[in-house]
Structures are given as C-alpha cells and as structure tokens.
C-alpha cells in the first residue's frame, strides 16, 4: 500500500460492568483491577509495532469494547498518547469511543472530551424497558435517552446512538416509537443492528431452554425496513447496511473496514489489516497480557493472497450503500481475482439482489436483506 496512506487504530477495551445477554465479545466483568496491566500491555504492543513497521500516520482512533466508557478519562488519554506514538496523529483525526449510557455523567463526558475524544457513540440498544430486560441490560430506557442528550451537549464533533432490533419478544408495532424517541433527542449518527444469534450467548441458551421466544428473522426484516424508512424521512441517510448518518457524520474509522483500507488493532481480540496481512490478537485477557509486545503484530504473518483480499474487498465494499468500483479493486488486487467473481455479481443482478452499472455494483433494497446469499459466493 502507498506509504502516505494513513491508517486507523482500533483499541479494544475488554472491561465491562456486566455481560449483556447477547454479547459474545472478548469481555471481562468485575476486573477493573487489571486496567493498569492492560494499559501497559497496549503500550508495549504499540511500541513493538512501531519498532517493526516504522512510523505511521494515524487518521482515526476507535475505542471499542467491552465498555471503553468504564475507563477513567486519564486512562483514555494515556492510550491516545500511546496511539500517537505510532507516528503522527493527524490534527483532524477522528477519535471515537463507545459508551454505555450509565457511565455518562456530565463530568465523565467532559473528561472524555478533554482527553481528546471527538466522537462518542452511546449504546442505548433499546429504548424500551422490557426489551432492555430481554437483552439482559440492567438499564432504564428513559435514563439512556437523558445520557444521549447530555452527550449531545458535551461538545463532541459527532455523537451516535446504537440500537438493536429483533430481540426476543419484541413487539413490532412499538419499534417506530423507539426510533422516534431517539430521533427526538437528535443524534446525527445511528447504528441499528439486527440481533445476531450466531454464537451460544446467554440469550441463545435462554431461547433454547424456551425461557425466551426465538428471534424471528421475518420480523427482523420488517423492522429493518421500518428503520430505513423512518430514518430516511428524518434525514439520516443509510450509508452502510446497519449505519445511518446526516451528511458529514459518517464514521470515518468504520469506513476503513468497508473501503479496503488499513487499520491496526490493539488489545485482546483486536483485528488488524495492514501491509496486506490480517491478524487478530489473543482473545483471552490473561493470554493477551502475557504475550502483548513480545513480537510486533503481523510480524510473523504472511501476506494474504490477492485473490482472498479481492473477495473481501468486494464483500465488505458491497455493504456500503455506494457499493463498489470493480476497477479500483482490480487496480489494487489484480484483474484475475475480479474476473473470477464477475459472474457471481452478474447472477446477483439477475436475481435482483444487486444493481450494476458498468464497473459499479451495489445492493438493491431487496439485496440489502439477502446480502450474505451473494457474499458467500464472492469470498
């Protein structure tokens, strides 16, 4: 990749106050005592990376989790400083942080802003107490909306809200009310994710036991369509399958994932895509702490084949509403890898899942809901 290209930095913060029922991320609860060791490990990791790969220009930093808002602002500042130590942190860099509403006191918000966070996402997940309970989140819906409001008043460049739909027992008719409640507070960015039950979370086990009704994929499809309509009417444009924003508020960091651009992850389970390599840090915190910084991330990983990377560029690029430009992918990963997949794209157009125009392809409105039907053949 061209050396002048800036990279994104993802920092995984594994600490949580509790584990939500649907969560299958690398998370630990009740272990804030290990924060210090964690911070040191991330610093070691970043140092090793820089020594091996040389200085980088960083265009965005994203604190994901876990619950990054559990960290003291001073800890966030230390991590940001470490990230800057990779080379140059662009002056206009986007610094995002995921938060849980009950961490967002005015004081914490001010501290995070002061530490350098420019973009805050608030994990509401639901604005309905019964749904919060089904999702295993011991929170109050009204307090969540208040926290979002405070976040909007705290001077961040951008604020987003996260919602999950398709939870067990969700009543379809009430969903528009939830969306409207969030829209009334007015975040310029919204992520709306359909609940996934691909791994055996507490929620899935409850469903299997019969304690909760099984999520209904047809209902999820309907709720998704409702979401798109509602948000479009409110001026939030869908720019990726699950992401909506007013103009100028798209997540610069998340776009890297979909636009086939480099990012480096630190912290347990963090994924990286750098120098044509993909790697993932150890998932378990104790293993991560033991090994972080021993070797630079990606140092012992061979580059991926251009065929694989082309497939991934297509699959992730198609998640964006603007779709993909085959020529750009050809330039980057070679003509053969793209030519091999062209028939799949054409079949997708025939089946009405894709819209094609010359070298550009994007998902149709039907295709958005059935994207994986094409993606499996594109990989």
């Amino acid at each position: 990749m061209p050396p002048e290209m800036s990279i994104g930095v993802y920092i995984h913060v594994p600490f949580c106050a509790y584990r939500c029922a649907y969560c299958d991320f690398a998370v630990v609860t009740g272990q804030l005592g290990r924060v210090e060791a964690y911070l040191a490990a991330v610093q070691r990791e970043i140092g090793a990376f820089r020594r091996h790969w040389g200085p980088q220009t960083v265009g965005s930093v994203y604190f994901g989790g876990g619950t990054p808002s559990l960290l003291e602002p001073s800890a966030v500042a230390r991590l940001l400083e470490a990230a800057a130590g990779l080379g140059t942190l662009e002056t206009e860099a986007e610094i995002s942080l995921e938060s849980n509403p009950d961490d967002l006191s005015a004081e914490r918000l001010a501290g995070l802003r002061k530490a350098g966070v420019t973009r805050l996402t608030v994990g509401l997940q639901a604005v309905d107490d019964r749904r919060l309970e089904a999702l295993g989140r011991p929170l109050d819906a009204a307090l969540g909306l208040e926290a979002l409001e405070r976040a909007l008043d705290s001077g961040f460049v951008s604020v987003g809200a996260d919602l999950i739909f398709g939870s067990p027992g969700q009543i379809s008719d009430r969903w528009p009310e939830e969306i409207d409640a969030v829209l009334a507070v007015g975040p310029p960015h919204l992520s709306a994710y359909a609940l996934e039950t691909t791994s055996r979370t507490r929620l899935l086990r409850a469903v299997e036991r019969g304690a909760l009704p099984a999520p209904d994929p047809d209902q999820a499809a309907t709720l998704y369509e409702v979401t798109c309509e509602r948000l479009a009417a409110a001026g939030l444009e869908r720019y990726e399958i699950s992401n909506f924003a007013r103009s100028g508020h798209r997540s610069r960091h998340n776009l890297l994932y979909w636009q086939d651009r480099p990012f480096v992850g630190f912290g347990p389970s963090a994924a990286s895509y750098f120098a044509e390599r993909r790697w993932t840090a150890p998932r378990r915190l104790s293993e991560y702490l033991r090994t972080a910084g021993r070797a630079a991330g990606g140092a012992d990983v061979p580059p991926c084949s251009s065929d694989r990377l082309a497939g991934e560029a297509l699959v992730f690029g198609l998640r964006l509403a603007e779709g993909i430009d085959l020529e750009a992918i050809e330039r980057r990963h070679g003509a053969a890898a793209v030519a091999r997949r062209r028939p799949v794209l054409e079949r997708g157009v025939e089946a009405g899942l894709l819209l094609g125009e010359g070298n550009r392809f994007r998902l149709s409105s039907r295709g958005v809901l059935l994207a994986d039907e094409i993606f499996v053949d594109l990989l």
């Binding site: 993802y10 609940l195 699950s242």
Partner: protein
Amino acid sequence: MIPEKIRNFSIIAHIDHGKTTLSDRLLELTGAVAKRDLVAQALDSMDLERERGITIKSHAVTLPYRARDGQEYRLNLIDTPGHVDFSYEVSRSLAACEGALLVVDAAQGVEAQTLANAYLAVENDLQIVTVVNKIDLPSAEPERVLEQVEEIIGLPAEEALLASAKSGQGIEEILEAIVQRMPPPAGDPDAPLKAMIFDSWYDSYRGAYMLIRVIDGTIRPGQRILLMATRGEYQVEEVGIFSPKQVSSDSLSVGEVGWVIAGIKQVHEVKIGDTITEALRPASVAFPGFQEIKPLVFSGLYPSDPADYTALRDALDKLRLNDSSFEFEPEVSDALGFGFRCGFLGLLHMEIIQSRLEREFDLDLVTTAPGVPYKVKLKKGEYIEIHSPAKLPPAQEYEWIEEPFIKATILTPQDYVGPLLKLLEERRGEQRELRYVGPGRVLLEYELPLAEVVTDFYDRLKSASRGYASYDYELTGWRRSDLVKLDLLVNGQSVDALSVIMHADETYRRGQKLASKLKELIPRQQFEVAIQAAVGSRVISRTNVKALRKNVLAKCYGGDVSRKRKLLEKQKEGKKRMKQVGQVHVPQEAFLAVLKLED
C-alpha cells in the same frame, strides 16, 4: 471311506437356541478340536457372525467318531446359514445331508424358524432328530416343549433327546442317534461324477474354493470337470476336507463332503446348487434343485464424499469377489450424485455388505431406502424387471406391475394376536391360516408383499408382541398389485432419489407425510419453493417453503474480517453439502431423513 460309515447332517434351529454351542460341543467331544483351542464358536469365522450370533456362511467339518458299536464313523457336520436371507443356501446345505438335528430351546420352545427349518428338512427328505437343548436352565420346560414339537411340527415327542450343549449333558446320545438313526449316503461309486456345490468362497492365492457333497462317483486332482449349469470346464487341482483344519486328500467319493479347488479365477463362475460332473464322461442329469439366486432387496449406495466414488467401486469389486450373491451397477442420481444400485438377498445381507464397506474399507455411505424388484408388463408385450423406482416407465407405457410376495409364518403367544393381525392388515397381508397350537400359542400364516416387510416390519412385529412373536418367511412368487410411483417435486422438478413405488391406496397418506417432512428440511431460499407429491401428473399434496427474507450479518465488529469470514464460510460449507435440484439447494440430510421416514 465307504458310504456306510458316513453320516451327513445339519443342525437347524431358531436363532439363539444353541446351534453354535452344540456344534462346538460335538467338535470337542469327537476330538476334532481340543477343548483348549475351542475359542467359543469355532465355526463362525467372520467377525460379524460372532458379533451378531448369526451364521452367515456355510461350513462343513468332518468329525471322526468311534460309536458304541465299536465302528469308526465319519460325521460330516454341515452348518447352515441361520437367516432367511440365505434360505437358498440353507436349502442346498440341507440337500447335501441325510439327516438333521432340530434344536429347540427348552425354555423358549418352538419358534417360527424352528418350524420353517423343520419344513425345509422334511422337504429334503431328511431324517430329523429332535434335540431339546438348554435343559439345565432353571426356566426349562422340556415337557411343554415336547408337546409343541408334536403339536406344531408333528414330530414324535418320544424320539426327542434332551441335552445341554453348555454342560455337555446328552451329547453322546446325540452322536449315537446320528449314527443309529440317520441313514448313510446312497450313491453309485462307479457312475460318472456327480457332486453338488453348496458353498464357495474366494481365496486370493488359490482362486475359488467350492464346498461339495459327492452324490455319485469320485472327484480327484487332475480330473477335468464340468459345471453343469454354467458349462465351465476346469481341471481339479486339489481336494480335501475340514477337520476342522483344512486337510488335502487323494479324492472325495460317494457321500463324502469336502472342498475342491480347480483353478477357477472368479467366484461368480461357481453357482451354489450347481452340479460338478466329469468333462469327458458327464452325468446325464444334474442334481435337482439348482436355481439362479437373484437379489430381492435393492438400494442405492452413494459415497458421502463424491471423491470416494472410485474407492467405493473398488470395494464393491473386492466384496463381490467373495460373494456372488450381491450385484451392483453404476447409478446416477440428481440428488445424490454418482453411486451404485446394489442388489442383496435380503435386509441382513444388505446390512452385512454396508457394514463391511464401512468397516473394512473405511467408507462413509449414504444409503437409499431399500426396495424390492418389480416386474412391469409393457404394452408392447414383454416384461421388464426394474430395481429402482426411477426406472419405471411412464404409466401409459405399461399394463400392470407385479411384485414379489412372501408367505410369512408367525408364532406368537395368543395375547398379541390382535396387534399382530392389525399390523399384517396394514401391510396388505392376506390370512392363510390362524391356528391355536398348544396352550396359549397361535400360528399365523399370511401372504403379503415383500415390499411391506423390507423396511421396519420385523421391528414392528417385535414391538407389537413385546418381543415374543417369532417370524420367518419364504418367497412364494410374483403377483399383480395396484402399484404406482409417487414422485416428490421441488419447484416442479422431480427428485429422483425420493421416488417410491407403493400401493395406490397409500399414496395420499404417504405423499402428505413426505411433502411436509421435506418442507421442514429444505432451508428457506431467495424465492418461494413449492413442494409437491404427485402420482404421474396428479398432485396429491402440495406445500411450500416461504422465501427467505433476511440473510445478512448486521455487524462487522471492529473490522474483524476473519470472524465474519468464518461465518460466511460456514454458510458456504453448508451450501456446498447441499444438492441442487433446479435452482433449489436441498441439504443431503433432507434426502436421508425422507428416505428414513418411518411409515
């Protein structure tokens, strides 16, 4: 040995009545096998036989015996297969004998196989010596059993012997009865050679072995022989007996039983029941009773992994080297890919072959539901025999279909007669006999289509009678039946592997059941999938799989491409394992589940 000093006999019994233990005891007592070498069940040489307690291959052992009269005798024990699948082989083994020991369990009493075997022995003119075995059991009731022997089989109770093969009690009396009561073989030592083949197997060094009984004349190494049914000519290389070790001898003559090798390369060239004669001086007529054995149960065998196709073919070739009674031919199924249509003598035979393919050749197989052969009378005039529903011509091209029928003999405690009659009616059975035999026991004879017993009949019979009913059957012939082919269609396209031939009255019920089962198993696709069960162009049942509305992962967390990739690859793997019927992806499990669908 002169014929007067030879006795050829079989042991016949219902399963588990102690046939094998008695054989072992006879071997031990006559000194053919030393007690310390007698690992239980010396005669059953295949692992499967020992495991299942069933004799699959025939054997013949020559036992030297000095009788109470001071004379030396040679007793040839011809062990018979203990399962109805091999009834032709049983009949040939019995035809090689002059007498039979009919073993009846002193606690269980006469069972269906006891009866069927006794009839076979009578048909073959054998002198029957009844042995009531296991008299040492606390639950033994020899008196009651003897009554049954008289009542059900019609053999005189007072001539029966009481014994325990396990403890050795009464064994000498059995040996004496063989010598005293069974007739010696009769035959003309100077007539042209006539010997009946009652078993054969393949040896990779010596070629085909034949197990024979000499009727007339003598067979010896160097002789030119002719197999009368197949017209094959060979030169005898070696002859001998089993003692039970394989021993060569100079010749085998009238009445003797032993093995012959004659440079025959393939076991298919040897037909069980065929007669061996001299090529230069052939006998004028063959020993009676020869039949071509034909498979009665057919099923498709497919490798789970298409890459194993060649390995499966090689394995089938190898097994057929040693078993000429099973057949196979290549078959292509839309649903299951490339495989073989295989014909077996019966369900047990099928199970044996499948299990050997899996165990000895390490193959993972997909097996279609077993079916029977059908004879189809074409409008053009001739008959064709089909072994797969896919081969049935369109309805307008044939006049009728015939199917094989059996006569089933069932013995049951009277308490279970009700449920058994219901089962037999359901299976299109026609009653031929219902008779009370002895206190509380009922003999049922039914004619019913073979197709109705090849699936789960035996299990159903056992559960309807809490395990007490016993069952045996014999083939009676072909009969015209109102049969039709039921097809399953997925989006209008018929799925070959799922077609079944069945009685017209059954199509509605089964069609609905099959269609709804398939609906459960076909995952939702991008479009609606119609599932229909149809007979010809008449649709009997229809249902559909709703179109898939959503299949997309919502989130790509923290750029974790590898995680998402894994999930997509899992989907892709699943898709790969599916077979395409038109545009529709159908998981292999769906075919299997439908094939296994219980009635």
